[in-house]
Amino acid sequence: MPERDGASIPDGATPSAAVNGSSPVQAKPGRHREATLYHALAGAGAGDTLAGTGGRSLAELRAAALSAYEALDLPIWRRSGFWTTSLQNLDLDSLAAPAASDPCEVPAVVGRTLPDRARAGRIVQSAGAVVHLELDPELRERGVILCSLEDAFREHAELVEPWFSKRLTIDRNKLEAANAAFWTAGAFLHVPAGVVVEEPFEIVYAIDAPGVAQYGRTLVLGGATSEFRVHEYDLAEDFDGQALHAGAFELYLQDGARCRLSQVQDWGSGEVFDLSTRFVGVGRDAYCHWLPALLGGHLVRQHLELAVSEPGGDMAFRGLFFTEEDEHLDAFVVDLHETGPSGGDLHWRGAATGESRASLEGLIQIDPGAQQTHTYLQIHTMMLSPKARVDAIPSVLVSADDVSASHGGTVGELDETAIFYMQTRGLDRPAAVRVIVEGFFEPLIAELSDEPLEELVRAKVAEKLAAAREDIEAYATSR
């Protein structure tokens, strides 16, 4: 197991050599939005890759990432409009190397949170180790693989190597490099061609104590015409102190595959930093419905990219977020069309209470030649306290002429008329607010189209509203 001090890792390539064609994306202070600097994730793994193709081996990738890690400072992103996302308060040196803190029990938060329901399989990583792994034996018979990514490299190298880090970079910032250099355990799911699975595969990353640096690494492969669901959970116990989740997630759907990918992220009340990149690649005539529910964390920065890479690919990219207290969320959402015809449909909704801040930057990018692409981005936000702030920044970059791409959205506060209306039906003010906010999120929650998951997200939204009750009351009287 690699240590952060890198004793076992050969000192390899320089950071710039690891980039594989794309230039590092780093915003210049105070000038740019993410979108204007954007380069599609070009990958530092496959293609480049691994043994046998003249590319780099896993060890070489780790070594290159380590060099980048050592050369880079903790990142700060700034853009004009007084928005800064800084990781510089993260005390990285005080966090334990994964190996030192590997637990062997499933954290209680997992049992408390995950619905008790039928499932195809479940893998739970706590800190740096897999603490639970199960897979429906019948699915195993049919060739489905669910295991740690480390094991997958050992036992299914031929499957993993062509895809691993195919589109994920390893050196755009220090924590991405840390993930690529130090990741342990991880999750690998392979649903072979033609296999249709009704119940979800559950992939869980949990942090059960402060002082943990968790480097999560997930690779999901959907074979041609496979159909399946993935539910990812990112959870932490409520604790005092810092912890880090630096995640890298990639999912590739081959011809005609269909996947519903949902993610419930709630890092609890601890000082959890989450800096993750997630990439979903949609192949020929494939379809992905992706819905992250970002429900809290001290400081969360997510790069979420959904790319239609082959003709006929289609997707629905949904997302909701709800920040509270002094949380900070910075999400960069990319709808990338590399070829046409293709379809896209993005719909995000977010609310903020307390003094929390959330920024959602959404980018539609249609590459040259991606003709007959039709896509739409809508972002709706709602501020529930006078000190909360939500920014929604849509951008459209189009390099083809036979396409349609547009965006829209709303920025809202609580509608006092609607509150009065419900009060005249007997609901008190908190109940009326709850109806409004739940109604605001409901169109997306319903799209989870999975009752246990819907109930979980509804419950979490209700929990946050209950916690923010005083705040919301104060907002009403201040106006």
Binding site: M422, T424, R425, V435, G439, E442, P443
Partner: protein, 262 residues
């Protein structure tokens, strides 16, 4: 003692005094019509009775079933048995009509309503108001036509079974079929449940379908004329101007207290 007693009610917004001393008594089983020209204060009265925060009561009292509710929160008034059918019902996206009704019913009860009982009540109300069952699974007022919104108001009224309902220009913008459905709904709730109603309207049309026992005419923040259904007929013949003139001649002092908009 009437169920709802309004005494010398003065109401202002930040800029204007809108109601200048309204007295009105309404009891269960009575149908009242409140008529008046635009800007006379009809909607202000409706909203004030339910406690809308924009309107400030500077003088007077509202008593409901013997309790002074002048300062009560809107939801407390609703729980006590008052209802307001809105002139412009608000859309509540993401919440189905049925779910909203269940929430509203439960807000008035200690124990949540049994699913079966709720269904029976809902079925009854649906038939009463001649709406499609699918209607109740749509999001409340979201994308509803004007007529659907008003039907939804009456559906809520039927389900919540208030003692006194205030219908704020429920007839505005309705075609004749929708108007008839809404009016018949009110009449049946009156006949079956003993509903008391204050029908606020600018026009006489709805009063062809619901027969009020008491008619009040509001002008410039005061009730200037009261009577029976014959007042509606008179209004139909003469219009507000005639009444205003007469009222101006006999009650000049009251008008002079106005802001001159008359």
């Amino acid at each position: 003692m009437a169920d709802l007693e309004i005494r010398d009610l003065h109401v202002r917004t930040e800029e204007h005094e809108i109601l200048r001393g309204v007295d009105l008594d309404i009891s269960r089983g009575e149908i009242h019509a409140l008529m008046g020209p635009n800007g006379s204060g009809k909607s202000t009265l409706a909203n004030t009775l339910l406690g809308h925060p924009t309107y400030e009561i500077s003088e007077g009292t509202i008593t409901f079933k013997g309790e002074d509710i002048t300062e009560a929160e809107p939801h407390e008034r609703a729980k006590a048995g008052l209802f307001l059918a809105f002139q412009y019902p608000v859309s509540i996206p993401g919440v189905s009509v049925a779910n909203f009704l269940r929430m509203a019913i439960n807000a008035k009860r200690d124990e949540p309503i049994q699913v079966k009982e709720f269904r029976t009540q809902l079925q009854h109300a649906i038939e009463l108001l001649d709406v499609d069952k699918a209607f109740t699974s749509r999001h409340l007022n979201d994308g509803f036509s004007g007529g659907e919104k008003k039907r939804a108001e009456i559906l809520q009224m039927a389900m919540l079974a208030p003692d006194i309902a205030i219908l704020d220009e429920t007839d505005s913008g309705l075609d004749i079929d929708a108007l008839r459905t809404v009016a018949e709904g009110v009449q049946r709730l009156h006949d079956e449940q003993g509903l008391g109603a204050l029908i606020i309207t600018h026009y006489q049309r709805i009063l062809h379908y619901v027969k009020p026992q008491f008619v009040h005419i509001l002008m410039d923040g005061r009730i200037v004329l009261e009577g029976g259904v014959e007042l509606v007929e008179r209004l139909e013949r003469e219009g507000y101007d005639q009444i205003r003139q007469e009222f101006g001649a006999t009650e000049a002092g009251a008008l002079a207290a106005g802001d001159g908009s008359a």
